[in-house]
């Protein structure tokens, strides 16, 4: 078989503990977003739209939903004869085995997978971010500059820079220094966790790193510093556009609300760059006579009899008469009774909210209320806020 120019490796094993009970039973990349999607749809669709047809998805934490969701990759057109999507969980070998101990370790343990494609470059992605990006442009940049590694960076506000891994570059965009969460940042170019490596270089460093007992086997902490130490050619590729780490309940809520802005920075309705996802196959949404819908994204299979204001409603949600959903994210198949009030909340899949329940705190700036026990029933006298 012909070798592949570039193979993507998507790190999808993270728990995402800061998403609290949302990730109690599913890995972070499987968390719902935007009325229809799971977070992992974004990097997978980016691959498809960037003509990258070979993707390894590294799973570890609660992989059931992810495995089931990814399947053979048909929703993203990644069901291919040569290449396509492969789910790569940790495994045992004759010389032992065990869990992936870090991001670099996860790739190292799948050398065999990468070798069978004999790629020239490897694209490392994470399943934690919401963004649309043409990886093929980054690959062109990487090839033209002759870099050993290219790291995608994003300009962040200076006051936030100390929360990110910061790249200090020279005038030719060559990375001269990497600061992980610096107290006094020298640059505001943050790493997006998107890397392209020359495979021969990466392989060498992965093998070296694996032998180092003091290493934490992490790209940001070990591999990148080692490359810099050896004066390898590391380039920064500046990405412009919407990018969001939805690592916390607040940032997940915010990213959803961003979609409701007048001209959202992240345009989901772009026929040239579709975000693909598994289709729930439900009838069109029904907006009843008694309904009032103002500033909302609503998906198929919904039956809306109440009021929806500035909210994201996933598929299969039923909202009864005289109930109000405001500034909230309602995940799939939630059934909401009558006279229910929901403010500034995220309600997990399959929750049943009985008549008269009151959820959330309407005060602007207050903490987001999370109802995240999938399939739970909230009784009619239920009152909850964060």
């Amino acid at each position: 078989m012909k070798n592949k120019e570039c193979v993507a490796m998507l790190l999808a094993g993270g728990q995402g503990t800061r998403l609290k009970s949302l990730t109690k039973q599913i890995a972070k990349p499987a968390v719902y977003f935007g009325g229809k999607y799971r977070i992992i749809d974004f990097p997978l669709s980016n691959c498809t739209n960037s003509d990258i047809d070979t993707v390894g998805v590294l799973t570890q934490y609660e992989p059931l939903i992810l495995n089931d969701y990814i399947g053979i990759g048909s929703p993203w057109d990644l069901d291919r004869k040569h290449g396509g999507v492969s789910v790569l969980p940790p495994f045992m070998q004759s010389e032992g085995g065990g869990w992936y101990t870090g991001t670099a370790n996860a790739i190292y343990r799948n050398l065999k997978f990468l070798n069978q494609y004999d790629p020239e470059h490897v694209l490392i992605l994470s399943g934690d971010h919401i963004y649309k990006m043409d990886y093929s442009e980054m690959l062109d940049y990487h090839k033209t500059s002759g870099a050993d590694a290219t790291i995608s960076v994003l300009e962040v506000p200076w006051e936030d820079a100390s929360r990110f891994g910061i790249m200090n570059t020279n005038e030719q965009h060559r990375i001269v220094e990497f600061d992980e969460k610096p107290e006094h940042p020298k640059s505001n170019l943050a790493s997006m966790g998107v890397y392209i490596f020359r495979w021969d270089v990466l392989k060498e460093y992965l093998i070296e790193d694996a032998a180092d007992e003091n290493s934490s086997h992490d790209f940001g902490k070990d591999i990148i510093p080692a490359l810099l130490h050896d004066h390898k050619n590391l380039m920064a590729y500046q990405f412009e556009g919407y990018w969001k780490d939805v690592g916390t309940v607040d940032s997940l809520w915010e990213a959803n609300m961003d979609l409701l802005k007048k001209e959202p920075e992240l345009n989901l309705n772009d026929p040239k760059w579709r975000i693909y996802s598994k289709n729930p196959n439900q009838p069109p949404q029904y907006i009843a006579k008694t309904a009032k819908v103002n500033n909302a994204l609503i998906n198929e299979g919904c039956r809306i009899h109440g009021t929806v204001d500035t909210s994201i409603i996933f598929y299969g949600v039923h909202l009864s008469q005289s109930s109000v959903v405001k500034d909230s994210v309602i995940m799939p198949d939630v059934k909401i009774g009558k006279n229910v009030t929901i403010n500034r909340a995220i309600i997990a899949k399959g929750t049943v909210v009985e008549d008269g329940a009151v959820i959330g705190d309407p005060t602007p700036g207050s903490e987001i209320t999370l109802v995240a026990e999938e399939g739970s029933v909230l009784a009619s006298n239920y009152v909850m806020n964060s």
């Binding site: 989901l268 309705n269 009838p283």
Partner: protein, 368 residues
């Protein structure tokens, strides 16, 4: 379990759909916000474990083929069985068949090769949610030769005049098939027959110069064959004209009709378009409307159906209308009792008003 194979026979379908079938056959007409007519028949088949389906197409089948693809949306992209779209490409020099028997004769391999013992033949114009396994159970219970499906309609509408009606005795045996306008036993253009009997009847029909398998092979043999009537009691709509299309589409806004057709147990499948959720902007006002995905709504919409990817500009008003895929309604346009076919564009401030009993139909890709 007995296997059933399906044949969707589009040869004798009435076409009074005017502008809606200029470029496509009736089976490919968009219906219900995101479906095409044929989706109901194909989904009913796959939900009834019919895993081998042939489509007898004759005219205007380009968009039908585009829509059905290899049957993936219905899980019919199979190694065993699957979907077979069979347009007329007939090269048998000894062929003397006529009418829809040309289809049966030239596609006899489909019938011969199928692993099924029974064949279910259906048209595409009877919208319903039926389980053909139930039809088969009854067929076997009464030991019928042929079982035909019918509905007792509460009220006769003009579209029912085009349909055949059944005369039935107390044992639900069919004693007559006719066009009597006063009968409420509307034949739903679906019948179940064993593969062997179908094979025999096809040969006999062709030998006697028949042109219509159902009429010449079954109706004309009512005294000899045990033809049983299976009553379908669920939600039903017969769509064969613009008027019936409009009335039955609007009826989907009623919960009873909607829930009767769309159930979680027997979902209606259709080709996936990967549209995002629909976007209701702050200026939008939507009531009593079915909205498919990918719409962007800034105007007012009432008692209507919006298909996928429709854009409604600010200040536009849409009432009692059916707006098909990717139409663009610019700001301040007014539409009432209108059917817009796909890809139409209504420019700013335009007004189009049809009559409630006779909607104004705009053909595909028209700009106004």
């Amino acid at each position: 379990m007995d296997r059933i194979a399906g044949i969707i026979n589009l040869d004798h379908e009435q076409d009074l759909l005017d502008e809606l079938t200029y470029f496509r056959c009736g089976a490919a007409v968009p219906f219900g916000g995101r479906y095409r007519m044929i989706d109901f028949t194909v989904s009913n088949m796959t939900n009834s474990r019919v895993d081998s389906v042939a489509v007898f197409a004759r005219r205007k089948y380009r968009s039908l083929m585009d829509h059905l693809e290899q049957g993936k949306a219905w899980d019919l992209d199979r190694k065993r069985g699957g979907l077979f779209i069979l347009p007329p490409d007939w090269n048998d020099p000894t062929d003397i068949s006529k009418g829809d028997l040309q289809h049966f004769h030239n596609n006899i391999d489909f019938i011969n090769r199928t692993l099924a013992d029974y064949i279910l033949v259906s048209g595409s114009q009877n919208i319903c949610n039926i389980n053909f396994q139930d039809v088969l159970s009854e067929h076997k219970k009464v030991n019928a030769d042929v079982t035909v499906v019918y509905a007792r309609v509460d009220e006769l509408y003009p579209e029912h005049q085009q349909a055949h009606k059944l005369e039935i005795d107390q044992n639900s045996r069919v004693t007559g098939i006719h066009n009597d306008h006063s009968s409420i036993n509307v034949y739903m253009d679906m019948y179940l027959i064993s593969k062997d009997l179908m094979h025999d009847l096809i040969e006999q029909c062709i030998a006697h110069g028949g042109e219509h398998f159902f009429l010449d092979g079954i109706k004309s043999r009512l005294p000899d064959l045990h033809v049983h009537a299976y009553e379908y009691e669920g939600t039903h709509a017969l769509v064969n004209s613009v008027e019936s299309y409009y009335r039955n589409s609007t009826k989907l806004l009623e919960a009873e009709q909607h829930d009767g057709l769309f159930s979680d147990d027997a979902p209606i499948f259709t080709k996936v378009k990967n549209e995002p959720p629909s976007n209701y902007l702050p200026s939008s006002q939507v009531t009593n409307t079915l909205v498919a995905n990918g719409c962007v709504i800034e105007g007012q919409v009432e008692d209507s159906i919006l298909f996928r990817g429709v854009k409604v500009g600010e200040g536009a008003v849409i009432k009692n209308s059916i707006i098909m895929q990717r139409c663009e309604i610019e700001p301040n346009a007014v539409l009432e009792n209108v059917i817009l076919d796909k890809d139409c564009k209504i420019s700013e401030g335009r007004t189009l008003i049809g009559a409630p009993e006779k909607p104004f139909v705009v053909p595909k890709r028209k700009s106004m």
